[in-house]
């Protein structure tokens, strides 16, 4: 008689195993992938319901029905693992931040995975564990998800889409259209860290530099800023396209101009040096853990104090002001004493040689 235990399933080989087409087919292999990898790390009561959709309680804040904020983000970063993070925690932080900058408290996350046939399970496990850690530190569970597998060559290892939902207190209205002349522009810390950390690993551009991505969940810092009751017009996290792109968006939405002071924009010397090497303008380089705050001038000092007291805001600075301008230009006084505009990014930033 066979000695094999009833109901025994050989566990996933997380060391050497690879994703194959069966993992996306809806059959036993997929169930195993979900239970031994996704659910194992991301598990919570909602995910544990095991249905097609998670049933969540009605959003209530301070005893009142609250408005919902929802945001979604797709993540295709390459390379998948970089100094300071990976696609996993990036996908969690990014969506949390998009919800939080609206003034909402993030409550739930959803995650969708598109896996390429042949993707190493060891890498997948690493990514999912990182997501789980990020979600758990933030106190926001991943309540539902989906996985699909595409043939080898049809997907760059892994793509992740995350969606976040949060609740917004009554009376709070933050947005890119609210900036007015006389307001002040603050940034929570040094710019360009993430983009340069990524560039340092990309094929064909190699250098050793102690630069790490700044990927981080900002909702804790944002909650502290909102708790001051200060007159905050807009919060935004400047990701792809950098500080310059986000400020141009806000200027356009609000119908105003801006004047920045180059000397006040915080940047790590080593990031500035890397941008020199690559011929990049740090104003256009991606960030993943920074906040732009547009606020009434009188409230700027207090908000800066709050940021300085927080680990994610130590290098916060006032970098400029909002002005009336029909052309909606974002301008800059250079450290040199001259003036220039900080225009929308044209195309993709390509390192210059000439």
């Amino acid at each position: 008689m066979s000695e094999v235990k009833r109901g025994y399933i050989r566990p996933l080989d997380l060391k050497h195993g690879r994703v194959d087409m069966t993992h996306g087919s809806g059959g036993r292999a997929m169930v195993q992938l979900i239970s031994e990898l996704f659910a194992k790390h991301l598990g919570n009561t909602y995910l544990g319901q095991g249905n097609d959709g998670a049933v969540l309680p009605a959003p209530v804040l301070n005893g009142q029905p609250a408005r919902l904020v929802m945001s979604t983000d797709c993540h295709v970063v390459s390379p998948l693992f970089f100094p300071g993070g990976d696609i996993g925690c990036l996908s969690v932080h990014g969506t949390l931040n998009d919800v939080a900058v609206m003034g909402a408290t993030p409550l739930y996350l959803a995650a969708g995975f598109i896996l390429e046939e042949g993707f190493a399970l060891a890498d997948l496990a690493r990514i999912v564990e990182s997501m789980a850690r990020a979600a758990s530190s933030a106190g926001v569970p991943v309540v539902t998800g989906d996985t699909k597998v595409v043939e080898r060559g049809k997907g760059d290892g892994i793509f992740i889409t995350t969606t976040g939902v949060g609740v917004l207190p009554d009376g709070l209205s933050l947005g890119g259209a609210h900036a007015r002349a006389g307001d002040v522009v603050l940034v929570s810390g040094t710019i360009g860290d993430h983009g340069v950390a990524i560039m340092s690993l990309r094929e064909n551009l190699s250098f050793e530099a102690a630069i790490t991505s700044d990927t981080a969940a900002l909702h804790g810092l944002i909650a502290k800023l909102l708790a001051t009751g200060a007159d905050i017009r807009c919060l935004r996290d400047p990701t792809r396209g950098g500080l310059a792109s986000t400020l141009n968006e806000i200027a356009e939405q609000s119908g105003v101009g801006m004047m920045l002071d180059e000397k006040t924009i915080p940047i790590k010397p080593v990031v500035a040096a890397a941008c020199e090497f690559l011929g990049l303008d740090p104003l256009y380089v991606a960030n993943e853990g920074k906040l732009i705050v547009i606020c009434a001038a009188a409230d700027a000092p207090q908000l800066l104090d709050v940021m300085h007291a927080h680990p994610l805001g130590r290098d916060a600075a006032r970098i400029g002001e909002v002005l009336a301008d029909d052309h909606h230009f974002v301008q800059l006084t250079t450290a040199f004493g001259g003036r220039r505009i900080v225009d929308w990014l044209a195309g993709e930033q390509l390192p210059r040689i000439c």
Binding site: N204, T334, G337, A346, R352
Partner: protein, 375 residues
């Protein structure tokens, strides 16, 4: 950053601005051409024009090798990628230049061309080693600064007997370009070129030395000051040019003495001479045919010449009729003077090369300075 930060000091800039304002004679106008795209970029990026008095004007010259690259040459590179299916390695700047059939290298990549951005010829050589079964072509553009690295790449490939590596050579020469400006049609029309002096390129000069500019100073009676790359260098050079003009001198002065000497880098020059020879003539975008202004690969290294290897012919493609890049590159028109500047032709949809490269006069003005036009 040493040798960078000190040359960007804002306080010293004010001192130099003061000196320039005092030296520039109020009753005359000064027009200086900075030849080098890197200088154009520095002037825009630091807002240098704001620090100059109204009667000192900077004119942007054709020293941007991307800007002077004719459409036909980019078509060749695209053809290599899409038809010959090579791995086409290119510096980043060239990727967005618009070519024929609404293509650019970037758009060709979207259509399946294996086009890879490299930072150095060293990367291209490595790609050739890593992909022995594929043909790898390096799209070589640039003035004399960028030519020695290409020469070395070919010498290296020859030494390693790499059979899958070749170069599409589009290297051009600075002195020839300067001559074109000084002999442009407008000169015949007006009797003189409306430029009082030149800021000589920084890094080209580290290779060719200051000697080649002596010919221009003597022959055309125009002062040349070779300037370093940083904004203070440019301001000092402007000061020195104003002094020369006031004194009626036409000499070659070297502000970038920390990196440039009269003879230049002989080793680099020798390597270039070993691998390349002069083309009889070469088309420059905006300047049309210029004699003895560009390089081709010598017969001896013919195996590494992509034009020979893939039997490519050059077809000239004219610029859009409304495009004023030619006049702008020669310094006789400004970007604002072009009818399609900022409307049809923008950094997103560049019609001409001056708008594509961030050092092109039009791109620089659009990105950094167009707010001044609107005032």
């Amino acid at each position: 950053m040493k040798y960078i930060d000190e040359f960007r000091d804002g306080a010293v800039a004010q001192t130099l601005a003061g000196k320039i304002a005092r030296l520039a004679q109020p009753q005359r106008n000064y027009s200086f051409m900075e030849f080098c795209g890197g200088h154009t970029h520095a002037i825009s990026r630091y807002g240098l024009s704001d620090l100059l008095p109204a009667n000192v004007r900077m004119v942007h010259g054709p020293g941007c090798p991307v800007c002077v690259l004719p459409i036909g040459r980019i078509d060749m590179a695209i053809k290599l990628a899409l038809q010959h299916k090579v791995i086409l390695c290119s510096y980043g700047d060239t990727l967005r230049v618009p070519a024929s059939n609404s293509l650019s290298l970037l758009k060709a990549k979207a259509r399946g061309g294996d086009i890879r951005m490299v930072y150095s010829t060293l990367d291209a050589l490595q790609i050739a080693r890593d992909n022995p079964q594929r043909e790898v072509v390096f799209f070589a553009i640039g003035f004399e600064t960028t030519t020695p690295p290409t020469a070395l790449a070919i010498l290296q490939a020859a030494q390693e007997q790499l059979t899958n590596f070749s170069v599409l050579c589009c290297h051009v020469l600075t002195p020839a370009a300067i001559t074109q400006i000084l002999e442009s049609p407008e000169v015949r029309q007006w009797g003189t070129v409306p430029i009082d002096g030149f800021i000589g390129p920084a890094h080209v000069s580290t290779v060719i030395g200051s000697r080649p500019y002596e010919f221009f100073a003597e022959e055309y009676r125009k002062p040349v000051v070779i300037a370093g790359f940083e904004p203070l260098d440019v301001m000092q050079a402007i000061l020195m040019l104003i002094a020369q003009v006031n004194d009626g001198r036409a000499e070659v002065e070297n502000e970038f003495a920390r990196a440039v000497c009269r003879d230049g880098n002989r080793k680099a020059q020798d390597r270039v001479a070993e691998v390349f020879e002069l083309r009889h003539e070469f088309e420059w975008r905006g300047l049309s045919m210029v004699p003895y202004s560009a390089l081709k690969i010598r017969e001896k290294y013919g195996a590494f010449d992509a034009e020979r290897r893939f039997k490519m012919d050059y077809t000239s493609v004219p610029d859009n009729k409304a495009c004023e890049c030619g006049a702008i590159l020669r310094g006789v028109k400004r970007p604002q003077d072009c009818k399609i500047f900022g409307t049809v032709c923008t950094p997103e949809n560049p019609v001409g090369s001056c708008m594509v490269s961030s050092e092109g006069a039009c791109a620089a003005h659009y990105s950094f300075g167009r707010y001044k036009d609107m005032a």
